[in-house]
């Protein structure tokens, strides 16, 4: 589904990604872990097409199609979704109106008509239920005055509505208490299918107790230095990141 080869990226001349290789198949969940500053958020921004970062080498292929030259919106139309660590507040535009705009923009890009409003409403209700979101929440301005938990729930709600092929969840667990974390994880699990894939980016193992990954990768200094299964995450939790750094030196 997603194949990343030898990906190098920099921001303002500072090299951050130094040769990433990653192969993700449909139906899989991959976790990318690593200490602060290792390049985790950069990787998610680069996959989503953030123009602040310059891709200096390598390719990102989605189902064999090269995304490297595409804009963020074109990548979204192809099926990439990024759940933000810090979602942006948009006063005056409700959650419902925002998601309608996004859905219809995606349909338009694919040459489809706007989604009929009864169908839209049905889908919104269904997905809101999945994330235990009530209707009052849907009429509030997007992310304005939302708690950390509400913001993350809203991100996963958008993911549920847009039905991406590849979803990247960037630090979705940060700022969540355990109840909110369970709701969000539960929502994500229900969205897992054999046709889509999910990349979970996290500093801590906590989220991975609820969204169980098929593979775990450790990112350090812009490279994936270790890959394994979910046991690797537990090992990292127990031992911290220092032993990885130690191994690197050796």
């Amino acid at each position: 589904m997603l194949t990343i080869e030898n990906l190098h990226a920099q921001v303002e001349g500072k090299k951050i990604l130094k040769g990433i290789d990653l192969d993700i198949k449909p139906g899989e969940v991959h976790a990318i872990m690593g200490p602060n500053g290792s390049g985790k958020s950069t990787l998610s921004s680069v996959i989503a097409g953030n123009e602040d970062f310059e891709t200096t080498a390598g390719t990102i292929l989605l189902r064999g199609e090269d995304l490297t030259e595409l804009s963020p919106e074109e990548r979204a139309h192809k099926g990439i979704f990024l759940s933000f660590q810090y979602p942006v507040e948009i006063p005056g535009v409700s959650v419902t109106n925002f998601i309608k705009t996004a859905i219809n923009a995606n349909r338009k890009a694919k040459g489809q008509e706007d989604m009929p409003s009864n169908e839209m409403l049905k889908k919104i209700r269904e997905k809101a239920k999945l994330l235990e979101i009530d209707s009052k929440f849907l009429s509030r301005s997007l992310n304005e005055g939302f708690s950390g938990g509400e913001k993350k729930r809203n991100e996963i709600f958008q993911m549920a509505m847009l039905e991406p092929q590849l979803a990247i969840l960037d630090e979705t667990d940060s700022g969540l208490d355990i109840d909110a974390l369970k709701i969000v994880a539960n929502g994500v699990n229900k969205l897992r299918s054999k046709d889509n894939a999910i990349v979970v980016i996290t500093h801590y193992q906590r989220l991975l107790d609820y969204i169980v990954p098929d593979f775990v990768h450790v990112l350090y200094d812009g490279k994936i230095v270790k890959s394994g299964t979910k046991e690797l995450a537990q090992e990292l939790e127990a031992k911290g990141y220092d032993w990885i750094k130690q191994e690197m030196v050796e």
Partner: protein, 438 residues
């Protein structure tokens, strides 16, 4: 002939055409002398540094229009707040249109300035209020005063709530190639009375138009006044708006100014406090394109303790449009416990736009809370990226963010029908097709 000379010369014919009694007439003559000695404001004056009238003054204006210009209601219905019932005071090329108007004397007075100035039953009110807070030394105000004749007269008696909003609408037909208008409004809201007023100026086809308007508003003890100025005219029309507001204790006055179109707009908005525990609100949304120019020049004079004022002006500028915000807050020594806030934020969508913003705080009291802030910037890149990752194309993402930026000033609009209308206007000005009902 220079425009100034033309105005001075035409006064003789004007005073014979619209005769007022000696006392009122003397006010017109005194004002004319002020205008004669001061002339039109130039960029040499600190307050007019960024707005030049020069370009406007070169045209040969008709000063008094014919009285038989007719407009069909169906052609102008869209300029009214048609989905709610309102009182209407309507003028066509400066002349009252009984056909388009819906005035009242039932419980309140919403009628004509010319009637108030000449009929004995209004005499006491006119003597008490007319030309009492308008700045006699301001030359544009003085010019208007000297040609006082027509406009809106509104009186809301004690303990009365106006049952419908009042619309003051000025249409310009464009039948004259160049027209100079000088409406004069007087609004008195007595103790514990309430009113909502919407003022609009609209050209129906392109022609040179200058409106030099003066409005005096008196809000008595515990009165509520919400005033909305809708400035969405063609880009051949210019407006110099001089509004003066006197507030007594515990009154609430808000003025919202929506500047979405026009060649040159100057809003002189002055609040004078005459009692304690009152509240003044000044809000504005400016969205300009092409070579339009808007200058907001506000003054809030805190002259009593325990009062609040809130100013929030947002501007969105594209093409070669230019904007000015000059906000003066004056806090007298006696005005302790004043809360005065001022905010002016601007977004420039092109690199050819210019905005000058200047907060001016003069505070002589020591126990006050005053704050001001101004920003001039572009849209937040991170926010744009966020929208784009949802599949929203660059242009729409930009429009959506701009809309959100301007939109939150609308929260304080008390009239839902007007709020909806302004929402639509903002969306259409920004070229947003948001795919949802606003």
């Amino acid at each position: 002939m220079e425009l100034k000379d033309k105005l001075l010369d035409s006064f003789i014919a004007f005073e014979e055409d619209f005769v007022l009694d000696e006392e009122l007439h003397q006010k017109r003559i005194d004002a004319l002398k002020i205008f004669e000695s001061k002339g039109f404001p130039t960029k040499k004056l600190e307050g007019w540094k960024y707005t030049s009238l020069e370009r406007l003054l070169k045209k040969d204006y008709i000063l008094f229009s014919k009285s038989d210009n007719y407009i069909d209601l169906k052609d102008v219905k869209k300029y009214f707040l048609y989905d709610v019932d309102t009182y209407k005071i309507v003028f066509i090329d400066g002349v009252y249109s009984p056909f388009l108007s819906d005035t009242t004397h039932d419980g309140i007075d919403a009628c004509l300035m010319s009637a108030a100035l000449t009929k004995p039953k209004y005499r006491k009110l006119v003597d008490t209020y007319f030309n009492k807070i308008a700045d006699g030394q301001d030359s544009m105000t003085a010019l208007n005063t000297s040609f006082t004749k027509e406009g809106a007269y509104i009186y809301i008696p004690k303990n009365t709530v106006a049952q419908k909003p009042i619309e003051i609408v000025h249409f310009a037909t464009g039948n004259e190639h160049a027209l100079w208008l000088q409406p004069r409004n007087l609004i008195v809201v007595d103790q514990n009375a309430q009113v909502q007023i919407i003022e609009r100026h609209q050209s129906l086809k392109p022609h040179e138009l200058v409106t030099n308007s003066v409005t005096e508003i008196y809000a008595h003890k515990e009165a509520y006044v919400d005033y909305y100025k809708l400035q969405n005219d063609l880009d051949t029309a210019s407006l110099i708006d001089n509004t003066y507001i006197a507030q007594e204790k515990q009154s609430n006055v808000s003025v919202h100014t929506f500047s979405f179109g026009g060649k040159l707009i100057r809003n002189n908005l002055n609040f004078y406090h005459r009692g304690e525990h009152l509240n003044s609100t000044l809000k504005g949304i400016t969205i300009l394109q092409a070579q339009q120019h808007v200058d907001h020049y506000t003054l809030v004079h805190h002259a009593h303790p325990n009062c609040e004022s809130h100013q929030d002006y947002k501007g969105v500028f594209s093409d070669r449009s230019t904007g000015v915000f000059n906000g003066k807050i004056l806090v007298d020594k006696i005005a302790q416990k004043t809360n005065a806030f001022q905010q002016n934020n601007n977004i420039l969508l092109d690199d050819k736009t210019t905005v000058n913003t200047k907060p001016q705080l003069e505070i002589f009291a020591d126990d006050v809370k005053c704050s001001h802030g101004c920003t001039i910037g572009q849209l937040d890149e991170e926010a744009l990226f966020y929208l784009k990752t949802r599949g929203i194309p660059h242009k729409e993402a930009k429009a959506l963010l701009t809309y959100a930026f301007a939109n939150n000033v609308l929260e304080s609009v008390q009239l839902p029908a007007l709020k909806k209308r302004i929402n639509h206007l903002i969306a259409s000005k920004l070229g947003v097709n948001l795919g949802f009902d606003l």
